[in-house]
C-alpha cells in the first residue's frame, strides 16, 4: 500500500514534468530572450551585444509608437468603462424577472462567440462611409449626416472602441448576472424591509458587493485591450496611416514586416509591463482572498 502510494505520487510528478518543461521553454525563456534582445542593437537578426537602453530611446523617439500607445490608453479607458457600465446595466435589467430572459441573454452574448476578425469586418462594413450607416441616414433625407470616423485620422480609434464594446459587453453582462444571482436573498429581503428603492439597492449595495466580480471584468477586458491585434487588422489595418495603430500590432509589424527585432522586443517589454499593471488588481485580490 505504502509502496503503491509513493509510486502514484511519482507518476503524478512525471505527468506534470512535461508541463514544467513547456512553461520554461515556451513562456519564461522567450520572455527572458525578448527582454535581453531589447537591450541589444538587433535589427533583422538577433545580435547579442549589450547596448543599454538604445532600443528604448529609439522607441520613445518613434511617433508611430506614441500613437499606438496613446491609442491603447484611449481604447482601454473608453472600452473598459463603457463595456462595464453597459454590461452591468444589461445584467440588472435582465435580473428583473423578465419574460423571455433566455432570448435576451442569447442575443446580448452572441457577439462574444465571434472572432475579432469577423467583428472587425462586420463593423467595417456597417461604418463604411460610402456604403454603410452614413449613406443609409443620408438616404433617409438627412443629407448633412456625417459618420465617417473609420476614415478620419483622429477618430478611427473610436470605431474600434465601438466594435469592441459590441463584442464584449455580453461577457460583462454574463459575469455580472452570475454575480447578482449569487447574492444572498436575505440581503434583498433586508433592503425591502428597510424600504430602500430597488435601483438604490443595486447602486449602493449590490454593485459594491460585487467588487471582486467587477475586478475580474476589468482585468479580463484590460488584458484584451493590451493583446488586441485582430480587431484593428480587420477594421482599419491600423489606418488611416498609422492613426489607429496599437502596441500589439506595432510589435508584430516590427518583427515580421519591418524586420526589426530590437524595436519589436522593446515594444513587447512595454506591453508586458502594461499587462502586469492591468493584472495587479486581480493578483492583489487573489492574495487578499487567500489570506
Amino acid at each position: 500500500m505504502k509502496a503503491a502510494l509513493l509510486k502514484n505520487a511519482t507518476i503524478a510528478r512525471l505527468v506534470v514534468l512535461p508541463t514544467i518543461v513547456v512553461i520554461i521553454v515556451c513562456f519564461y525563456a522567450p520572455i527572458l530572450w525578448s527582454a535581453y534582445i531589447s537591450f541589444t542593437p538587433s535589427g533583422m537578426f538577433p545580435n547579442y551585444h549589450f547596448a543599454g537602453l538604445m532600443q528604448y530611446d529609439r522607441l520613445l523617439a518613434t511617433d508611430r509608437w506614441h500613437v499606438a500607445f496613446r491609442n491603447m490608453l484611449i481604447f482601454g479607458v473608453l472600452f473598459v468603462s463603457i463595456a462595464i457600465s453597459l454590461g452591468s446595466l444589461l445584467a440588472i435589467l435582465i435580473d428583473q424577472n423578465i419574460k423571455a430572459e433566455a432570448v435576451f441573454r442569447t442575443i446580448l452574448l452572441y457577439p462574444l462567440s465571434m472572432s475579432f476578425i469577423v467583428t472587425g469586418l462586420a463593423w467595417q462594413w456597417f461604418l463604411n462611409p460610402t456604403m454603410g450607416l452614413q449613406h443609409f441616414v443620408q438616404d433617409l433625407g438627412w443629407a448633412g449626416f456625417r459618420f465617417d470616423w473609420l476614415v478620419r485620422r483622429n477618430l478611427s480609434i473610436y470605431t474600434i472602441v465601438i466594435a469592441a464594446v459590441w463584442h464584449s459587453s455580453g461577457l460583462v453582462m454574463a459575469i455580472t448576472l452570475a454575480g447578482l444571482r449569487g447574492i444572498d436573498p436575505d440581503i434583498w429581503r433586508a433592503t425591502r424591509v428597510e424600504g430602500i428603492p430597488r435601483w438604490r439597492a443595486y447602486l449602493h449595495i449590490m454593485l459594491p458587493m460585487l467588487r471582486p466580480v467587477m475586478v475580474t471584468n476589468v482585468v479580463l477586458l484590460a488584458i484584451n485591450v493590451v493583446k488586441s491585434y485582430d480587431l484593428v487588422v480587420a477594421m482599419t489595418q491600423g489606418g488611416p496611416g498609422y492613426s489607429s495603430d496599437l502596441p500589439g500590432k506595432f510589435v508584430v509589424d516590427m518583427a515580421f514586416q519591418r524586420g526589426n527585432i530590437g524595436q519589436a522586443s522593446a515594444a513587447a517589454m512595454a506591453m508586458l509591463a502594461t499587462v502586469f499593471i492591468a493584472v495587479m488588481p486581480y493578483l492583489y485580490l487573489q492574495m487578499k482572498r487567500s489570506g
Binding site: I11, R13, I107, Y110, V118, M131, N224, V252, M271
Partner: protein, 300 residues
C-alpha cells in the same frame, strides 16, 4: 377585505401599480432596443450577402434583398480569390478543421491530466507549478512570438500543421489545467482513497473514475477550446504556414487584401461562413458556454 380599504389607500395602490407597470414597460423597451442594436451587424451582413452588387450600389445597407440570391455564398465558399488562388474560403475551412480537431483533443487531454495530477496528488511544489502556469494565461502572444518562431524552427515544425497544433496545446494549457484542477479539487478525497484501496493506480483513477464523472466539465472545455481555436488569428497567421492557413486568416486575405472591384456580398458571405461554426456551438450549448465564460474568466 379589499372593499374595506379606504379610497385614498386604493388610489395610492393604483398609482403604485401604474408606476410599476411603467417601469416594467421601460425595462422591456430598453432590453428590446439593446437586443436590436446588438443584432444590427449580423443583420446587415446577412442582408448584404443575399444581394447582387447592383442592389448594393443602388440601395442602402438596410434594404431587403430582392430575392434570396445564393450566388455570393457559392462564390465565397469556392470561388473568391486571395491573390492568384481562387478556391474561395473552403480550403481555409478545412484547414481550420484539421487544426481544430487534434488541438482540441490534445489540449483537453494534457490539461485535464495535468490538472488531475496537481489536484489529487498534491506533491510539494504543485501550487508553484500552477502559479507559474497562470502567467501563461495573462501573457500577450506578442511578447514571446518571435522567440517562439525560433524555437519552432529549431524543432523543425515552424509553418506546419504540427507547429500550430503544438502552440494551441501550449497556450491551452494554462486555462485547461486551471479548469480541471479546480474541478478535481472539489471531488471528495474519500472517493479517491476508496479507489486506491481497491488497487486503482494513478491512470486507472483518472480514466475509469474521474473522467467519466466529469461530462459537464469536458463539454465546457470542448466549447472553450473549439471557439477559442477556431477564432484564433495571430497564431495561425504566423505559425500555420501557407498550406495550413486557418479560415480567419484566409477570410482576412479575401476581404482586406482583395484587388480589383470589391464584392461586398461575397465578403459578407465569407465572413458569416467563418463566424458560423462558433456561433452554432454557442447557440446549441448556451448554458455551457456561459459556464465556460465563468470558469474561464481567468483567461478571457
Amino acid at each position: 377585505m379589499a372593499s374595506e380599504t379606504s379610497p385614498p389607500v386604493r388610489a395610492v395602490a393604483a398609482s403604485r401599480l401604474r408606476r410599476a407597470i411603467a417601469v416594467r414597460i421601460a425595462i422591456y423597451v430598453a432590453l428590446t432596443l439593446a437586443a436590436a442594436l446588438f443584432l444590427v451587424p449580423l443583420l446587415i451582413m446577412v442582408l448584404t450577402s443575399f444581394k447582387t452588387m447592383d442592389e448594393i450600389r443602388s440601395g442602402t445597407i438596410f434594404d431587403l434583398p430582392h430575392a434570396l440570391d445564393w450566388t455570393a455564398w457559392l462564390k465565397a465558399w469556392s470561388g473568391a480569390c486571395t491573390g492568384l488562388d481562387c478556391r474561395g474560403i473552403s480550403p481555409g475551412f478545412w484547414n481550420s478543421v484539421h487544426i481544430l480537431v487534434p488541438s482540441v483533443i490534445l489540449s483537453i487531454f494534457c490539461g485535464s491530466i495535468t490538472g488531475y495530477a496537481l489536484a489529487v496528488w498534491r506533491f510539494r511544489g504543485a501550487n508553484a507549478v500552477l502559479l507559474a502556469l497562470m502567467v501563461g494565461a495573462f501573457l500577450p502572444y506578442q511578447v514571446i512570438i518571435y522567440p517562439l518562431v525560433k524555437i519552432l524552427s529549431f524543432l523543425g515544425i515552424y509553418g506546419s500543421l504540427a507547429g500550430i497544433v503544438t502552440l494551441h496545446i501550449v497556450f491551452g494549457m494554462p486555462l485547461m489545467t486551471m479548469l480541471f484542477r479546480n474541478h478535481f479539487v472539489s471531488i471528495p478525497a474519500d472517493l479517491i482513497k476508496a479507489a486506491r484501496v481497491d488497487g486503482a493506480g494513478f491512470f486507472r483513477i483518472f480514466f475509469s473514475i474521474l473522467l467519466p464523472m466529469s461530462p459537464n466539465m469536458l463539454i465546457v472545455a470542448v466549447i472553450l477550446q473549439v471557439t477559442g481555436i477556431w477564432n484564433d488569428f495571430l497564431l495561425g497567421l504566423i505559425f500555420a504556414g501557407q498550406a495550413n492557413q486557418p479560415m480567419t486568416v484566409q477570410l482576412n486575405n479575401i476581404v482586406v487584401n482583395a484587388h480589383g472591384t470589391v464584392e461586398y456580398n461575397v465578403n459578407m458571405a465569407a465572413t458569416i461562413l467563418t463566424a458560423l461554426p462558433p456561433l452554432l456551438v454557442y447557440l446549441i450549448s448556451g448554458r455551457y458556454f456561459v459556464r465556460g465564460i465563468a470558469s474561464g474568466s481567468v483567461k478571457g
